[in-house]
Structures are given as C-alpha cells and as structure tokens.
C-alpha cells in the first residue's frame, strides 16, 4: 500500500476566542488509504463537517498534524492550500451551482481551474452522460430537478479527476437511485484510479458500499 491519502495525528479544533472559545475536535487520529471509500457517521454537532473542512484545506489547522496527499497542512500558506484544493473534489449538501451557467458550463468550472484544457467541453459532456444527464447539457439549473442539479454538482467535482472526493450529506438532495449511482461511480473510480472518497451520510443503502465506516461522537472518533 502506498502512502495514505489522508493522515491525521492529534488534531484539535476550536471555534471562537477567549470566553467564547469552544473546542469541537479533540485529538483525532485517522488514516485513509488511497482508493478507499470511507463513510463518516455521527450525530449532528459531533464535528463531521468541521473535520471535512479541515481535511479539504478550507480551514486553517490550529493544532495537530494533517497530511493530505503528502502535504502537511498545519502552518501551510493559503497558496499551498489552494494548490492542494485543486486536487480535491467537493460535493456539498446544497448543489451550489451557478444559476447563470448551463449544466455543461458549471461542470467546465471544475476543469478550467487547471487552466486551458484540451477538449474540455467534451470531457464535461462525458461526465454528465455518465451521470445520466447527457440530454441536459445546455440546461440552466433552474430547468433541472433537485436530483439533476445535485448530479451536475457531482460531475463538477469529478471532472477534474480529483485524488480525493469530500462529500457532506450529498445524498440528501439526491433521489434514492441517483444517490446509489453516484456512490457506485465513486467506488468504481476508487478501484480504477485510486480516487479516495470521504463521505458523510446516513443513507443505509450507501453504508453497504463503503470500504470502512467511521463513527464520531462529541468531537472524537470512536474505535471501530
């Protein structure tokens, strides 16, 4: 097995200053291998989202060590974090599509971040077809259903061939079948390209597809 995609040691995190300071993550240790599909479970407020934003280079690491794709994030500059982010894919709870851009254009945004890309339009269309949106390429988000929009967001996250995909309860907006399609696609990518997935979800049908399930409680990862 190669170096882990994600490696966390003694990660603490707190929000607020002085009096208002509240610690939400306590000494987390975690390793996720490349190609793994890991599901993160835990009650609301247990710190799942906070952990995801730290691993996704969206927040500064305060204490402890976080290595993502070999890069130490504690003390990393904004430029370093942006460089790592470009190798990640994000699927948010809300689709966060740009209302003025068509499905294909939204997906292109996940590609153009890497500069000029050859055959970008075809690549975007291909990923959308994989997600069953081949006939919705030039639709604006307003003309798509909630599930379709979420699939466009998934396509946007996957089109740049990310090394790690972070998803925070994405299936909330996906209808049952397309939720499974998406996760199967992610699992296939894990097998074929070594794409790692860390996903927060409560969907039991997806739990079956996970390589490993982690449980969080009050800012700690339970042994399991």
């Amino acid at each position: 097995m190669s170096a882990p995609a994600i490696s966390v040691r003694g990660l603490d995190h707190a929000f607020g200053q002085d009096e208002a300071r509240r610690q939400v993550l306590f000494g987390l240790d975690l390793d996720i291998a490349a190609g793994e599909l890991v599901v993160l479970l835990g009650a609301s407020g247990s710190g799942k989202t906070t952990l995801l934003t730290l691993l996704g280079c969206l927040r500064e690491v305060q204490a402890g060590s976080v290595r993502v794709l070999g890069q130490e994030l504690n003390g990393a500059t904004e430029a370093t974090r942006i460089a790592v982010r470009r190798r990640l894919g994000f699927i948010f709870q809300a689709h966060n599509l740009h209302e003025s851009l068509t499905a294909r254009q939204n997906v292109l945004m996940g590609l153009e971040v890497h500069g000029r890309v050859l055959r970008a339009a075809e690549a975007a269309a291909h990923v959308l077809s994989l997600l069953g949106l081949g006939d919705r390429l030039d639709y604006l988000p307003a003309k798509l259903s909630g599930g379709q929009k979420q699939r466009v967001a998934v396509a946007r996250a996957l089109v740049g061939n990310p090394d790690i995909v972070f998803a925070d309860e994405p299936t909330a907006a996906l209808d049952r079948d397309s939720g499974r399609v998406v996760v199967e696609l992610l699992r296939g990518l894990g097998r074929a390209r070594g794409t790692t997935t860390l996903m927060v979800t409560h969907d039991t049908r997806i739990l079956e597809l996970a390589d490993r399930i982690l449980r969080m409680e009050d800012g700690r990862i339970l042994a399991g």
Partner: protein, 391 residues
C-alpha cells in the same frame, strides 16, 4: 457572443453570462452608464461650444496681431485704448496696416418687450476689417450713417425677420434712442455672452454709444507685411509700445488666452468643468452599486469556486469583465442619445455643439477606466465568500 468572449478570455465568460442572466438588472445598469455618458457628453459639448464661440469672432478678423487694453480678458471687456497706440504700431517696421475696432453691448428691445443683447462692433467700412464675404459686400452700405448688419445666428429672433432683411426689406431698431437700420445679415454664431452680433461703421457706433470717444477703440487689428513673422513682429511691437495699458498678442495667443480665461475664471466655464466631474461620479456610483450587488448576490457561487481552487485574480477578472462590458454596452446608447441632444440644443440655442472625433474615444476610454475602478472596489466584498461555510 459567449463564444467570442470565451476565445478572448481563455475561460468561460462568467461575467457576461451573469450580466445577461439578469436582464432587468443589465438594462438598468446600461441605462445608468448611458445616463452618466450623456451627462459628461453634454458638459463637454457645452464646454466645446463655449471654446468654439470664443474663437469665432477672432477668426473673422482680418488680422495677424491684436492690440488690446492690458485689463481686457475677452473681446467684450477692457478699457478703450489711447489713439497713440495705433500710431505707434503703424510706425513699427513690419506692420503693413492697422484697423480700429470699437466694441459695445446693446440691449435690443423686441416688439413683445423682451430684450436681446447684441455685441456691437464698430469698424471703418473703408477698410477690410472682417473676413466674411457678406461683410465685404455690405461695406458700401455701412458707410451710410445709421445702418447696420445683424448676425443671422442671433438667438431668439424669428427667422422671418432675417429673411425679410435679406430679401431687401431693411428693419429699423432703436439703439440707445438712436434709430439704426439693419440692411443685411452676416454670420458669426451665438456664444454664451450676448445673443448675437451687430456690425456698424465707427461713425454709427459713436452715435449709439455717446460716451465713447473717436480715436479710442477697444481693439487695434494689425496686419504684418508680407514675409513678416507675426511672433517676431509681436516681440518688436511690445518693445515699441512699452506702455502698461496695452497688451500685444498674435491672434492665436489672444484666442488661447480668452479661452483659458473664460473656461477657468468665468462661472459658465467652471460649471461645465464641474459637470464633467459630477457626470463621472454618477457613473462610478451607479456601476459600483450594480457590481457590488452582483458580487453580493453570487457570494455562494464564488465561495464554491474558491473551494474548487480559483484564486483572487479570477474573481477580479470576472468583475472587471462585467465592468468593461457595462462600459462598452452603455456607451453606445449614451453616444446616440448625445448626438440627438446636441442637434436639439444647437437648433434651440444656436450654440455650436459639435462632436469632434476624439471626444467619443476619450469618453469611452474614461468610461471603461472608471467602470474598471468601480469593479475593483466592488471586489472588496469578495472577502466575505468563505468556502468553509459551504458544507
């Protein structure tokens, strides 16, 4: 259009797509830019008309050099000159000839009781003082005491009156209790001072303005001998007539000085300059408002793009793209409306409002620069797009 911009920018033209997605906002933004453009264009038009209307009477004078009172800032003010000055000038080698010009302002009462002001020029009709062919043709007629020519461009006078005069029906007016008969017309074009010009002989002038004295004109026009350099001759004249009460200038110098004075010292000129600044400010504020609102409305999308890995420069690019598009698209209707308004104002006031080729280019460049500035300021709000808040 999207394709063209994509080629140009090397990325999706998100600014363009964002602007065209919200048609209502786009239209009001363009109307705002166009409005600011019209404001600036009108002020520039008036300023240009002021500058041009100052030049016109000078351009008519058959002269290379002007001798004016030292306290004169324009053609219309300043003390009369002592007669000596003209003789001194004539005695200077290189001066071919000289003509005196008297200036006075006259209230011309209309049949309906309203008043038009006329700038009255008194000249010696035996000499060629003004270049206009109409004046040349009417010199004979002006020699008869009590006759005059009127400027066809005089404001607020029924055109039928001029038509009648030109058709050979002299029109008699009362000028300071003297009857003056207008026998023909000439053309200067109204300015910002008086409504028009009246041309009379020096003899007639002295009858209208009884306090003025023969031999004390407002202006002496000098013509250089053939082959004489006006600048060199002016220097020689200044030495020759070294009196503190006169100023000797070449015609272009005198025009430039008059224009400088009226545009910077007179309320009209200052107001127009101020108006340009106001117009530009209105434009900046409108564009800033539009772009800042647009940024605020897309904070979530921008936060998403930040998460994906786009840098600050990318967002600045989007807002600048929008700014330039607004500047370009708003400029055209602004220019169109301006051309219409110029024609309208020229028709209504006789002011020479014209659109020199360079002005639209300058205004366009200024519009785009100010839009870009507004856009750059509007991107400050981007700091609030925090990708950590997206999950």
């Amino acid at each position: 259009m999207t394709q063209v911009l994509a080629r140009l920018l090397g990325r999706l033209p998100i600014g363009w797509l964002q602007l065209t997605h919200n048609r209502g906002r786009l239209v009001s933004a363009l109307a705002g830019v166009a409005f600011a453009n019209v404001l600036v264009f009108m002020q520039l038009g008036f300023l240009g008309a002021l500058i041009e209307s100052i030049r016109l009477p000078y351009a008519m004078m058959e002269a290379d050099i002007l001798v004016q009172a030292a306290d004169a800032n324009t053609l219309q003010d300043g003390s009369p000159l002592p007669r000596q000055r003209m003789l001194q000038a004539l005695a200077t080698p290189g001066v071919a000839s000289a003509s005196a010009v008297y200036y006075g302002r006259l209230d011309w009462k209309q049949p309906d009781g309203t008043i038009r002001t006329l700038d009255v020029l008194g000249i010696d009709p035996r000499e060629r003082v003004l270049r206009a062919p109409e004046v040349e043709a009417a010199r004979e007629a002006l020699m008869i005491s009590g006759t005059a020519l009127i400027d066809r461009g005089t404001r607020n006078v029924p055109p039928a009156l001029f038509d009648g005069i030109e058709a050979g029906m002299p029109y008699t007016i009362e000028a300071n209790n003297r009857r003056v008969t207008i026998v023909d017309t000439f053309r200067v074009g109204g300015g910002f001072g008086a409504d028009g010009y009246l041309l009379v002989s020096d003899q007639t002038f002295l009858k209208i303005f009884r306090s003025r004295q023969a031999g004390a004109p407002n202006l002496v026009l000098l013509r250089a001998a053939p082959g004489e350099d006006p600048a060199a001759l002016t220097a020689r004249l200044r030495e020759r007539i070294a009196a503190p009460d006169v100023a000797v200038r070449t015609v272009p110098e005198a025009v430039a000085r008059d224009q400088r004075f009226q545009t910077t010292q007179r309320p009209v000129g200052v107001v127009f300059g101020f108006g340009i600044v106001i117009g530009a400010l209105v434009g900046i504020i409108i564009v800033y408002q539009i772009l800042a609102t647009d940024v605020a409305d897309h904070l979530r999308e921008y936060a998403t793009f930040k998460a994906i890995g786009y840098r600050q420069g990318f967002f600045l690019g989007i807002v600048l793209e929008e700014a330039v598009i607004l500047g370009l698209l708003g400029f055209l209707p602004g220019l169109m409306a301006t051309l219409g308004l110029y024609a309208l104002v020229t028709q209504a006031t006789g002011l020479p409002l014209a659109m020199p080729l360079l002005r639209p280019l300058t205004v366009l460049a200024g519009t785009i620069a100010l839009c870009a500035l507004s856009g750059a300021v509007a991107t400050r709000r981007l700091a609030r797009a925090d990708p950590a808040e997206l999950f």
